[in-house]
Symmetry: C2
Subunit: 385 residues, 2 copies
C-alpha cells in the first residue's frame, strides 16, 4: 500500500431537508454571495428552500455561472465580493457552480494583481474565503473535495487549481433534487461517477485490499441503481444511493494508497474540446478502447473486477475481455453511445489531432505506468471511432 | 437511507515513516505533553522515532496511562498541563492512551470545578485543547473519531464522552508498528474491528446500498488478512490492511445512513466487568448467541452477509444459520473461544447478574429495534455459557 494522507474537513449534510441546517452552518451576521448557474434552481424549488433558510442573513445573488465555469464571468462576481464586503460564499448548483465558487474563494484572498495566475502558475490555495455548497447535480464530487477546473475561453485554456483552503465548510446534499434532473444528465452522472472509480481502480492488482473492495462496492452500487434511477429518479432511496456514490467516487478516499490512471479523462477532454460532446460521454467512448489497448497490463485487474463486480467465471483472459464488453454494454444500456462515429460528428483525423494536442501540452506519458504516449493515444482513438 | 452528517477533520497520516511529518504537524514553538502507556513504545522503536522527530520542541512526558484509562491517573497529567503551561498534547499509544488524552484535551479547557462532570453529566466538548496521536495498536478507531471512554475505579464507573472538540488534529498510523504487537492483541484487534463493523451492519436490509457494500468490504478484508497477519505481522501490506480496516471500521463512515445495533458491546462490557476478560473476547462470546437469539429479525441481513462475504448459497434460512456458524468458526480460528465456560471462570448466575446490572443502568432496550430487554440478555448469556 502506498503511503497517504487523508484529510477532508467538509461537513457533509446529507438527506432530505438538509438545507434547514443552513442557518446554523453559516456564521451569524455573514454577508453572503449566493452563486448559481442558469436558473434551474428556480424551477426545482431549491432556490426557494435556500432563500427561505437564509431569511436572517443579508444575501447578494450572482447567477449565470456556465457549465465549464468561465473566468471572465467569475471576475464579475469577484468585483461584487470586494465592492460589497461579502464575508461568505454559498454555491448553489452542480460541479461548475461549485468549482467557480472555489475560484472566487481563492481569488478573494489572493494578493497578486492577476487572479489568472492562481491557475496559470498553479498557485496552491492554503487559505480561502469561507464557503459552503448546496448540491443540485451529483457527479463531480466537487462538493467534498478541494479541487476546481476553470475555463478561460478568450485564450482557449482550461486549468485546474486546488489546496486545503478550497474545501467547502459544509455541503448540503439533499437527494430529492435528483427527481428534477433530466434523463440525459442522470445517465451522464452515472457514467461519470463509474469512470471516476475506474480511473482509481482499474490499474493492476495492488496490496490495497480494502480500497479495492470499497471501489468495487461503489461500482456494484452504481450498476444496481442505474436502471431504477433512470426509470424513476423521484424514488428517494435510489436517488440517495446515486448521490452518495457520486460523492464517494471522488471525495478522495478511494485514491488513497493506490496507483491511479486518469488517461481516459485526459483523452476524453480532447473529444469535448473538439466536438463539445458531454464530458461523461467522452469517457464512455474512450474507456472500452483504452482497456482493450492496454489489455495485457490491465488483464489481472479486469479479471478481478469481472469476478467481483460482474459475477463472471472463467480464465483471467476470458473474464477480462468479457468485463470490458459488459462495461460497454452497461454504458449502452443507459442510452450512451460508446463509438465516436455514433455522435454525428466528422471524425476525420481526430485521432491525430487529439494526439498532437496532448503532445503540445507536454503530457507525453499517461496512465498508471506513465507509458501511454501520443502515438498510443492515436491508436486508442482510432479504435474508438 | 437515514439522514446523516459526515464530519471528520482528522488529518490521517498513514504509512511507513509517517512520524517524520510530526515537526510540520505540530505548531512551531508548542510545549508538548507526550502521553503514553506502560512503556512498550520504548521497546518497539516508536518512542525513539517520536522523540527524534520532536527534537526542536520542548517535550514533557507522562507515561503510565492504563488500559481502560483511569480518571485518577489522568488528573495527575492535568496538573502537569496546567502547572507547566502545556500547549499541545501528543498521545503515543493505543485506544486507551488516545482516549485518556481526549479527556485531557477536554478537561484542560473545562471551566467547571469538577472535571468528572464532563463524563457524569455528559457535557459535550465543543472545543478542546489541540492534540495529535501516534497510533501503536490498531483496533478502536479512536485515532480518527471524537469519542472516548474513561474509567473511575474508586466509584466503579466507566463513562463515555465526545464532541467535535475531541477530533485529533492529526493521527500518525505507521503499519510497521504492527510487527511488534503480541499475537493475543492481534487476534483481539481482528475480532474487535470485525464486531465494530457487524454492530453497524448486521441489522436488517436497508436502502443504504453503498454503506452495506463498504461494510462488507471491510469484513471481507479482515477475513482475508486474518491468517496471514497472525502468521507474520511484519508483512507490511498485511499490517497496512489490518490498520486501515480497524480505522475504517470505526471512523464514523459506515454508520452513516443506517440503523445500528451495539447490543453485543453492551452485554460484552458486563463480562469484562465481571471477569476482566479482554473486551474483544467478550464480543466473540456474545455475538453468536445474540444472532441466534435474534435470528428471525436478522435472518435477511445474515443471509446477505452469508452470500456476499462468505460466498454461501441456499435459502435465506440456511445461509443465515450457516453464516453465524462460520463467523463463530472464524473467531475460533484466531484462537479465540466463543463460550464463556472456556475461559476458566465461575459462570454461576452470570446471566442473571449481567441482566440485573444492565437493568440498573436503565438500559432496558438494546439493539437496532430497541427491543432487547434484561430478560432477553439473561437468555442470550445462558446460550453463551
Amino acid at each position: 500500500m502506498i503511503n497517504f494522507n487523508l484529510y477532508n474537513p467538509v461537513n457533509l449534510c446529507f438527506g432530505k431537508d438538509a438545507h434547514e441546517q443552513l442557518p446554523t452552518l453559516i456564521p451569524q451576521g455573514a454577508k453572503i454571495l449566493m452563486t448559481y448557474g442558469g436558473g434551474s434552481i428556480k424551477q426545482n424549488g431549491v432556490y426557494d428552500n435556500v432563500r427561505g433558510a437564509l431569511q436572517e442573513f443579508e444575501v447578494v445573488e450572482f447567477g449565470g455561472i456556465e457549465a465549464n465555469p468561465e473566468y471572465d464571468t467569475l471576475l464579475k462576481a469577484l468585483d461584487i465580493i470586494k465592492s460589497q464586503n461579502i464575508t461568505f460564499l454559498l454555491a448553489v448548483g452542480g460541479g461548475s457552480v461549485i468549482d467557480g465558487t472555489k475560484f472566487l474563494a481563492s481569488a478573494a484572498l489572493y494578493e497578486g494583481n492577476e487572479p489568472w495566475d492562481i491557475l496559470a502558475k498553479g498557485i496552491r490555495t492554503e487559505v480561502g474565503m469561507p464557503f459552503g455548497t448546496v448540491l443540485t447535480l451529483p457527479a463531480t464530487g466537487s462538493e467534498m473535495n478541494s479541487g476546481a477546473v476553470i475555463s478561460r475561453r478568450s485564450i482557449g485554456q482550461k486549468r485546474g487549481m486546488g489546496g486545503p483552503g478550497l474545501f467547502p465548510q459544509f455541503s448540503i446534499s439533499d437527494p430529492t433534487v435528483v427527481a428534477s434532473i433530466p434523463h440525459r444528465q442522470l445517465a451522464n452522472g452515472l457514467v461519470d461517477a463509474f469512470t471516476h472509480v475506474m480511473e482509481q481502480y482499474m490499474t493492476y492488482p495492488t496490496s490495497a485490499t480494502l480500497q479495492d473492495r470499497i471501489s468495487e462496492g461503489i461500482l456494484s452500487t452504481l450498476m444496481e441503481i442505474a436502471e431504477p434511477l433512470l426509470k424513476d429518479p423521484s424514488d428517494y432511496d435510489t436517488a440517495a444511493n446515486f448521490m452518495w456514490s457520486c460523492n464517494m467516487a471522488l471525495n478522495g478516499l478511494i485514491q488513497k494508497g493506490v496507483p491511479t490512471d486518469w488517461s481516459i479523462h485526459a483523452v476524453g477532454h480532447e473529444l469535448t474540446a473538439a466536438y463539445n460532446i458531454d464530458h461523461a460521454r467522452t469517457l464512455a467512448i474512450v474507456l472500452p478502447s483504452m482497456y482493450r489497448y492496454k489489455f495485457e497490463q490491465k488483464q489481472a485487474k479486469l479479471a478481478q473486477y469481472g469476478r467481483r463486480v460482474l459475477g463472471l467465471d472463467g480464465s483471467d483472459f476470458d473474464v477480462a475481455h468479457e468485463a470490458i464488453d459488459r462495461t460497454e454494454a452497461f454504458f449502452n444500456s443507459l442510452g450512451i453511445n460508446t463509438k465516436l462515429s455514433q455522435y454525428g460528428v466528422d471524425t476525420t483525423g481526430i485521432e491525430k489531432r487529439a494526439a498532437k494536442q496532448l503532445d503540445n501540452y507536454g503530457w507525453v506519458s499517461l496512465g498508471e505506468h506513465k507509458d501511454i504516449t501520443p502515438a498510443d493515444v492515436e491508436k486508442i482513438l482510432a479504435m474508438a471511432i
